[in-house]
Amino acid sequence: MTLRAFLTNRRAMAGAGILVFFALLAGLAPLIAPYSPTNINFPPMLGPSAAHLLGTTANGQDVLSQLIWGSRDTLIVGLVTATLISGIQLIVGIFGGYVGGWIDEVLSMLTNIFLVMPGLPLMIIVAAYVTVKGTVPIIFVITVTGWAWGARVLRSQTLTLRSQAFVEAAQLSGESRWRIVLTHIVPNMAGILVANFFGAALYAVLSEAGLEFLGLGNVNTVTWGTMLYWAENDEALLMGLWQWMVLPGVCIALLGTAFGLLNFAVDEVVNPRLRRT
């Protein structure tokens, strides 16, 4: 029922289409990228040409290859972070909502605190404190600062589900708490979980780009974020290498839009109040 609603949802399909496109790009990067993204042996600052469809960077890297390979690490950061964030949200939300009591009080307070703490500044500070720079710390930093909102949503959803008749009926059927959580609560939150997942992925991709831009990222990888970092620092726009500056941003925005569309569509499918169009 919901799957079909999802499959016939134009927004979902548009979002999924973009995501699949980037996923293919990422998956097939070794096959379709003309060069290695870290190969710095081309003449720098070339405009678009047959050999370099999108030109080269100021460091003599092929922009197209970087763009293609960049999708890989960008997606990895986005999806891995979103997975971690979703995991925390699920645990905090369910613990808070279903177990209740003082655990809930503590977790709620923690959630509220992280909710109010401004994400990027906190991220910057934590990133400054993390001494080893790399993709893992970046994922860590974004995860730590990005879970609160979804956890709050999931908690209230858990609270709602907990008082639903079918959950009470399951209690009366002699089901244990944890079986109820696993077989009733979690599956019924799947839609919101998925929507949150895409929201978190959007947050992660944007945050990664922001950290890279600030020079707090990992320069060893090629992501759209690092591309922007280099393009900005090497004055891509002044050099007339607009494609180097514009395209990674467009890719981030498109990927973000895909995540947003999916988030939105799942929301629409799950929440019938929005399904009136």
Binding site: T38, I40, P44, M45, A58, N59, G60, A128, T131, V132, K133, G134, L214, G215, L216, V219, N220, W230, E232, N233, D234, E235, L238, M239
Partner: protein
């Protein structure tokens, strides 16, 4: 290229052999238009509300050290000239144990009182009284006393000979004794109403713009030509670049990416840059840590690096590769001993591999280097400052080239504070940074980079400036000999000794030259320093050398 932290290599000083009467040629030049306000924008972020000349540049408002306070002499590291400012002459006496400096007559502090040798003596004794202020460690050079022996003579007495110390003395900003003797806590005193001898006085200040106005009683008659100077603090190199491209400002100090194309070519008639080399960018290796403690390993790294490519990638041809013994080009001719020829390590990955093989290293089937015992080497970190894209670019090339001989590396960009303290405490594998000292002879860099008094015995302890933590008694002896003499031949021999050790043992790999990044445009004002008229070394607008520019620039 984004050295957002404008920690100047400001106190660049030199030793001169002859005093140049540089003033004469310019004073009273005919047809000079006076008036106008000169603008600059610097990526400083914010301007500190502080005009204390004893603090390092960057901690006080830009201009404090260039237009308000003046030192005794300005040493031009580019042309080797020594320009007299508050001092007019000096001589070493008593086997180099006594330095006698004559001070300028007829100079007035901006509050109307007269400048005398007493102020000079006061300033140096003040540094002794408050060691926090003695940034150049003048009182660690063997100096024992400073006294004014007349209204225009100051005598510096040393316990042991140290001729290079003159440079530090020459560059110290001088303050009025009358006012500073009353200051209680000079290290935190913000000096809100600065009184100096310089060509300008403070007009107004806010955290984003500081304005100076011409000092009508400046000791150089008729100077400065311009009436005002405004320095704006901007947040990024982009902004200052945009500002100068739009001719909102006349000059800035920014390492512009591909400066010829991005900046100069946009208005070839008026947009200019002058990037005179005065230092070297080095690849430091932590010699207290394996395998960088292994000389053969370091040599192999030197052989594996194509410094030409590194320079091209990092500076787009504006700056060239470094001399392998880290001589600055302007000094190489004078100081490079032909006997050093052949000790360099030319770029050759094959040779590098051979060197490694000879030292017992092996390679895995995938081409990774492993130790003699067959343990694959880990990935080493190359430390660079966050956002310093010239260094990061160098690191990328280095990383690529080391990969070619089987050494894997990752680039570790750190915020400036972490970067610097990692460098000082030896918590790094490899790092890219400039040479620790600059001056008119290689001595200054060698002393700072390799002198055992600046090193540390263990990782974790602070090595003040010997960041590769490499020391040799032979080096210390050579430096000691250099200090105690004013005989050029002896000094040359000493420098050659150190250079030979550098080439043979490679404590660091010189990568590229390092210049001052001076950019200017001549649409409305002229008279900026350049290669044809290098009256200063392209110093940043807050460094003492900029003083010379402010007294020469005038309306077109």
């Amino acid at each position: 290229m984004n050295q957002r932290i404008a920690i100047g290599l400001a106190a660049s000083v030199s030793l001169a052999f002859a005093l140049a009467a540089a003033m004469a040629s310019n004073v009273g030049a005919a047809g000079v238009k006076t008036g106008g306000t000169l603008y600059s924008a610097m990526p400083w972020g914010t301007i500190p509300d502080n005009f204390n000349p004893f603090l390092p540049s960057g901690s006080n408002a830009g201009g404090t050290l260039s237009v308000i306070y003046e030192p005794l002499f300005y040493d031009n590291s580019v042309n080797g000239q020594l320009v007299p400012l508050l001092g007019t002459g000096y001589k070493w006496e008593d086997h180099n144990l006594k330095l006698v400096v004559t001070t300028r007559r007829g100079v007035q502090w901006t509050d109307g009182t007269a400048f005398t040798a007493k102020d000079v003596a006061f300033t140096f004794n003040y540094l002794h009284q408050y060691p926090v202020l003695d940034l150049s460690r003048i009182w660690s050079t063997g100096l024992t006393s400073v006294t004014a022996t007349g209204s225009n003579t100051v005598v510096f007495t040393f316990s042991k000979a140290n001729t290079p110390a003159f440079l530090y003395i020459a560059g110290q900003a001088v303050v009025p004794a009358r006012l500073w003797s009353k200051v209680k806590n000079p290290s935190t005193y913000t000096n809100p109403h600065p009184v100096g001898t310089g060509p300008f006085t403070l007009q107004s200040f806010n955290p984003y713009v500081v304005k100076y106005v011409r000092n009508p009683h400046y000791w150089m008659v008729g100077r400065p030509y311009i009436h005002g100077l405004v320095i704006e603090a901007v947040k990024s190199n982009d902004t200052s670049l945009f500002d100068i491209l739009k001719h909102n400002i006349q000059f800035t100090y920014t390492a512009i990416t591909d400066v010829a194309k991005t900046f100069a070519a946009r208005a070839p008639a008026v947009n200019h840059y002058w990037w005179p080399v005065n230092n070297t960018n080095l690849l430091y290796m932590n010699t207290q840590e394996a395998p960088f403690s292994n000389t053969a390993f370091r040599i192999a790294i030197a052989e594996a690096l194509n410094t030409k490519l590194i320079a091209t990638r990092a500076y787009y041809g504006a700056i060239g590769p470094a001399n392998p013994a880290a001589f600055v080009p302007a000094q190489a001719k004078a100081w490079f001993n032909p006997s050093l020829k052949g000790l360099e390590h030319p770029y050759s990955p094959a040779l590098a591999k051979q060197t490694l093989k000879k030292a017992g290293f092996k390679w895995t089937s995938t081409g990774q280097l492993e130790s003699a015992r067959g343990n694959p080497l880990p990935s080493y970190r190359i430390l660079v400052g966050a956002g310093w894209t010239d260094f990061i670019t160098m690191a990328q090339v280095v990383s690529n080239e080391l990969q070619a001989i089987g050494i894997s590396t990752t680039i570790d960009q750190e915020p400036w504070g972490t970067y610097e303290s990692s460098l000082l405490t030896g918590r790094y594998d490899m790092a890219i940074c400039w040479g620790a000292g600059t001056g008119p002879t290689p001595y200054y860099d060698y002393e700072q980079s390799l002198g055992s008094q600046y090193s540390a015995k263990q990782i974790g302890q602070v090595a003040v400036s010997d960041w590769s933590r490499f020391t040799r008694p032979a080096i210390d002896r050579a430096l000691q000999s250099f200090r105690q003499t004013s005989n050029l031949a002896v000094q040359k021999r000493d420098i050659t000794t150190v250079a030979r050790i550098i080439l043979r043992q490679v404590p660091f790999v010189p990568l590229t030259n390092r210049p001052n990044f001076f950019d200017y445009q001549t649409a409305t004002f002229v008279g900026f320093p350049n290669a044809q008229n290098p009256y200063n070394a392209g110093d940043p607008p807050d460094a003492p050398g900029a003083n010379l520019m402010y007294t020469r620039v005038h309306l077109k």
